[in-house]
């Protein structure tokens, strides 16, 4: 069971990394607008699909 003396410090280092990433994300403002990006990505998708559709329609007509 002495392996615990190695495993727990490793998990603590991982914990440290996770905490640091989370704190960085909060400071970077990633949690400031939780809804916008979801809409934005869908919108951009639509635009590309539609312009393709348009150009195809344009070619046909």
């Amino acid at each position: 069971m002495e392996i615990i003396y190695l495993l727990i410090p490793i998990s603590l280092i991982l914990l440290g990394v996770i905490v640091w990433i989370l704190l960085w994300a909060v400071r970077d403002g990633q949690y400031d607008d939780l809804e916008g990006p979801a809409h934005r990505i869908l919108m951009d998708e639509d635009r590309i699909v539609d312009t393709q559709k348009n150009s195809r329609r344009g070619d046909a007509g």
Binding site: L15, V19, L22, V26, R27, Y31, G36, R40, R47
Partner: protein
């Protein structure tokens, strides 16, 4: 790109009118969804199909959207857009002010030599597609380098190159696609709010992540206690728990300690006192036990307590800030622009109110706010000073009377001389008013706070007596039991019960288009028995629309409009503006010898022919022409406003104007009536107009020709009969009535928010939201009672159990946290 206007008989106009988007009904305005007036031929070509438009405003907006290559907007949007308003001269004048350096200082940040950055509030956002359109469109303007729209707050951050585009041009461009943008100053308060939110989130994250580790270890310790564990491992785990709890104590739990310290310094007992005591004592005794190598540890209880408590406070704070932020920012966005007159009284100039100096002469138009304290030097008017002193009836003032900065000029234009500036400006006053309104807590929440404060003192007494009792009877368990009582009795759930529910519902109402200024409004809304409507601008659109043009045989509609518009082009009268807008581009008929009679009409000559335009009595007194009887018959049936165009010898045309009923007015009234509310219509208009609206909407009780004062008295009479009154008005003219009613809702864009004394502002152009809000207020009240019932039940049930030694500290921490969480989750049900 050339204009895409086309006539109705255009061969391209096929049956698939609504194929692009099913948002607007067939035959209704494709842009804003309003019905198209019968004799109007306005179309915009969208994706090869001519789509009908209800007015020139919508047509111009749709044209701009198509011309900028964003036809896609119509395909992806899920809601109709606000009615287009075109670029009216007042708007151009108002936006031009944002180029003045003094005003820019307030709103614009400099990034290097030519780069500028400003935050804008966007009005008119109805769905996600609007965000997309605005981002794409603004980004496409030459000179704009970066734009980001925040969906949650409907704010945009724009960066541009000052040498290539001006802020006013950006604002005007946004207006062209049918939205309204106003710069605002994200001030320190907001910045600190954001910092606070982030700090809270970080604290929560630390408590959560470290707490998880502590819980994990404590599970192995429990398992070890059950099945045996080597002493060295046990000691190692205990030290580990201590080490992992330390960041939670030092970082996440600090707000509780600080707040408790503040309470004690003021000799009060707040909720954070028992919380801090519980956390502190539990941690200290556990740490001592760890160092001594014997005794119980409660690290798991400590982290769990801190985590759940931080979580519920974070949610509460988020909801509260979201509501408060919109109000604050709007107050700021109010461009405090005023019209300064040159010392000789001649030239007008738009300047920032902040730049006014003592002795300046200022012109204040009706509806405008007095920019500084001063004295009237010409004109007389009624002034609404309710924002300043709560006096709801406008005060009549004459030359020589004192004007207070922040009051609103109601009736006539005034010229004033500035007597004092600075801290007494409009902005300071409005800001103060709003702060006052926000500081007001709903009565139920105040009650909960009072109860909680007494409860805490009571709890501390109980804890001491329980500790003494157990110390005398079972000295081994006294600490554990006293700790359990301390943890279990935290009245967090009780204090969270009301604010969480109110915050959640305010957020929900905001997305439904209702901005609530006062928390107490929701409770009052619940008691409402009578709903009183104003007519103009509330049930009707408040904007006259040209309904018909009746021409004499020798002129056609276009010619009549051209002549009328030429005469009226410099008039500020609302009807004149409608005529000018309807006429479109003016051909080169230059009127000369213009003479106007106030409240009557205008006379001018075009190509040496004298024309008269005005109301019927003006025409009768200036021209020998007789009104054809058949015309009079045509208009006699409807209560409409008529403007007559005539030459000296004959009547040329007659224009009739109507103020259209909002199409969803009837839905709202019917809805309110099914909810069992009595609906009353009160209007200053004549009996015929009132009856017409009452009939159309199904209101049986209508009162016409009422003065604002009369309305107020009528509302107070209703209140004396112990009924609670909800007043719905347009917000500006109804200030007295709005403030005397139990709850008031003002119509109009969010930007008028700061001006009105109403409790709630309807920001969406969607009346039935009002009925929904009443249902929703009832729902909120139910949730509040549920929450309070639950919290009281929990506290009164758990304390005796804990005092009897039936609840271990970890169970107490779990129970208290779960009860708070349950209250928060119950409140969040409202947001669905």
């Amino acid at each position: 790109m050339k204009s895409a206007i086309a006539k109705r008989d255009d061969p391209q106009n096929s049956v698939e009118t609504a194929a692009v988007s099913a948002v607007a009904g067939v035959g209704d305005c494709f842009h804003c969804g309003l019905p198209v007036p019968p004799d109007l031929d306005l179309y915009v070509n969208i994706d090869g199909v001519n789509q009908p438009m209800c007015c020139h405003g919508c047509q111009a907006v749709a044209d701009s959207i198509i011309a900028s290559g964003h036809a896609n907007f119509y395909r992806v949007r899920t809601e109709v857009s606000p009615t287009g308003q075109g670029l009216v001269p007042e708007f151009l004048r108002a936006t031009a002010v944002y180029d003045v350096p003094e005003i820019q200082d307030q709103f614009v940040h400099s990034l290097g030599a030519d780069m500028r950055e400003a935050s804008l509030i966007l009005e008119g956002i109805t769905c996600a597609a609007c965000i997309w359109l605005n981002e794409q469109y603004i980004a496409g303007l030459p000179g704009v380098t970066d734009v980001r729209v925040n969906y949650a707050t409907q704010r945009a951050l724009v960066r541009w190159d000052e040498t290539r585009i001006k802020l006013s041009e950006i604002l005007q461009s946004i207006q062209k696609i049918g939205y309204r943008a106003l710069p605002y100053n994200p001030d320190q308060q907001q910045e600190s709010n954001r910092q606070q939110r982030r700090l809270q989130l970080r604290r929560l994250a630390v408590a959560g992540l470290f707490g998880m580790q502590v819980m994990m270890i404590s599970i192995s310790l429990y398992a070890g206690a059950w099945s045996g564990m080597e002493a060295s491992f046990e000691q190692f785990f205990r030290w580990l728990s201590l080490g992992l709890t330390l960041p939670v104590m030092l970082y996440s739990a600090t707000p509780f300690f600080i707040s408790a310290g503040r309470d004690l310094a003021r000799r009060q007992v707040g909720m954070d006192v028992p919380v801090s005591l519980a956390i502190g004592i539990a941690f200290a005794s556990s740490a001592l036990a760890t160092i001594n190598g014997q005794g119980e540890i409660y690290f798991d209880s400590v982290v769990m307590f801190v985590f759940f408590l931080s979580a519920s406070r974070y949610f509460e704070n988020m909801a509260r800030q979201r509501c408060a932020a919109s109000v604050e920012q709007l107050a700021q966005s109010m461009p405090v622009v005023t019209t300064r007159l040159a010392p000789d009284g001649g030239a007008e100039e738009s300047v920032a109110a902040a730049t006014l100096a003592i002795g300046d002469r200022v012109l204040v138009r009706p509806g405008e706010t007095i920019p500084a304290d001063g004295e009237i030097i010409s004109g007389f008017s009624a002034l609404d000073e309710s924002l300043l002193n709560g006096e709801s009836i406008p005060v009549d003032k004459n030359v020589g009377d004192r004007l207070l900065g922040g009051s609103i000029n109601v009736t006539n234009p005034l010229q004033m001389e500035v007597k004092s500036v600075g801290a007494d400006t409009v902005m300071a006053e409005i800001q103060r008013t709003i702060e006052r309104a926000q500081a007001e807590k709903p009565p139920l929440a105040r009650l909960a706070d009072r109860v909680a404060a007494r409860f805490i003192s009571f709890v501390l007494l109980i804890v001491i007596s329980v500790a003494v009792f157990w110390w005398l009877h079972d000295a081994e368990r006294w600490f554990e039991i006293a700790l359990a009582v301390l943890i279990v009795s935290c009245p967090c759930a009780l204090s969270l019960a009301t604010p969480t529910a109110i915050s959640a519902s305010l957020g929900k109402l905001q997305s439904a288009g209702l901005l609530v200024k006062r928390g107490s409004a929701l409770e009052n809304l619940n008691r409402v028995t009578h709903v009183v409507f104003d007519k103009t601008g509330t049930l009707t659109r408040g904007r006259p629309r040209l309904e018909r043009v009746i021409c004499s045989p020798e002129y056609d509609r276009g010619q009549c409009l051209q002549i009328a518009a030429a005469l009226e082009q410099h008039s500020e009268h609302p009807l004149a503006r409608v005529l000018v807008q309807e006429a479109g581009v003016l051909e080169k008929c230059k009127p000369t010898r213009i003479a106007s009679t106030a409240g009557g009409g205008i006379c001018a000559s075009i190509d040496d022919v004298d024309y008269f335009i005005g109301n019927a009595s003006y025409i009768a007194s200036h021209s020998s022409a007789e009104m054809p009887t058949q015309w009079l018959e045509e208009i006699a049936a409807d209560a409409v406003t008529v403007v007559v165009l005539a030459r000296a010898d004959r009547v040329i045309a007659m224009f009739t104007f109507v103020d259209d009923l909002r199409e969803d007015a009837k839905t709202l009234i019917t809805h309110l009536q099914t909810l069992g509310k009595s609906v009353i219509l009160m209007t200053g208009d004549g009996d015929a107009a009132a009856r017409r609206v009452a009939d159309l909407t199904g209101i049986s009780d209508y009162r016409a020709q009422m003065s604002p004062h009369g309305k107020m008295e009528a509302v107070q009479a209703l209140q004396r009969e112990s009924s609670a009154v909800l007043m719905i008005g347009d917000g500006v003219n109804d200030a007295p009535v709005l403030s005397s009613a139990d709850v008031s809702i003002a119509m109009g864009g969010a930007s008028s928010l700061a001006k009105t004394s109403a409790d709630i502002v309807l920001t969406a152009n969607h009346l039935p939201a009002i009925a929904q809000s009443m249902i929703f207020a009832a729902e909120t009240q139910r949730i509040v009672y549920q929450n309070m019932g639950w919290a009281l039940m929990y506290n009164f049930g758990a304390i005796p159990a804990a005092a009897m030694g039936l609840i271990a500290p970890w169970l107490a921490a779990l129970g208290m946290s779960v009860s708070s969480l349950l209250v928060v989750l119950n409140a969040l049900r409202l947001t669905r």
